[in-house]
Amino acid sequence: MAKVAVIQYPGSNCDLDALEILRDIVKAKADLVWHKELDHDDYDAYVLPGGFSYGDYLRAGAIAATSPSLKIVRNAAEGGKPILGICNGFQILVEAGLLPGAVLRNGTLRFACTSTKLRVETTRTPFTSKAKKGQVLEIPIAHNEGRYYLDKEKIPELERTQQIVFRYVSEEAEPTEQANPNGSIDNIAGICNQKGNVMGLMPHPERASLAMLSPDSQTDGRIIFDSMMRTLRGLEV
């Protein structure tokens, strides 16, 4: 059976939520692994959870990006294994250079804690394969540094290579300025690497996967974990 590691960094605080969803909701075999103890690529997929690793000092994710665990994650990424970074996990993947760009302080200068609507821009990743292109998911955000940045002239290339996975959108599924909670360039909420197996997003799918705990009792976040499990189970066949 495929095994997933949730990597715990000093300051992770959404690690147990992700673990719970993986184990109890999507029925994965999942371990919580302290980042310094991840010394072999023994897992089939890796989740870098949300939180405030190393107190967000220097920059969110910058210090965790030098953790030895990232060597394992980098190898796994090169081998095509699914790697998911949520919120601080996304920031770590960006700072480690596994995903392009930077994640800067919110344009509003406020901690953004709200429900957002995300449009699925590509279904080619192992995390969106069960979604439909253009489908809108309602998933909450909770961050102070979530403004995705890449030089404007590089965005068309990111679009062409289908690396933009989610955009913040309005009720009408349009990427409007009002729907953009943090000033991210082009309303980008989540991206993947060129191969598509490494994905990071600022919203928290693990907080919208269990009706009892999620806003409006909806479970839109599950599709990300369900997609990942389908990919992993497909590999077993």
Binding site: A65, G97, L104, Y149, D151
Partner: protein, 87 residues
């Protein structure tokens, strides 16, 4: 130049095209409101001050420049840095 301890500063700033909402807020809500209309813009940045043992100020600066690149003290996708000797 003599070996010794040098003070080197690294300033990490958003690239000119990456908005700096903190600098904008300081400019709009403090400096302009306070009547200093001569100030036309503000950029906020992060400053790291390091004491470095080196053979010369140039060496100290080169060490800090190298570590800034190697350890990603800045994210080149969004930031620029200045490295300067201050003592």
């Amino acid at each position: 130049m003599t070996p010794g301890s040098y003070v080197v500063e690294v300033i990490v700033e958003n690239k000119p095209l990456a908005r700096d909402p903190e600098g904008e807020a300081i400019h709009q809500n403090l400096i302009l409101k306070g009547g200093y209309k001569q100030v036309t813009s503000v950029r906020a940045a992060k400053l790291l001050r390091m004491n470095v043992e080196a053979n010369s100020p140039e060496d100290a600066r080169a060490i800090v420049r190298k570590l800034s690149d190697d350890l990603r003290i800045y994210n080149p996708a969004a930031h620029t840095i200045q490295v300067r000797i201050v003592g």
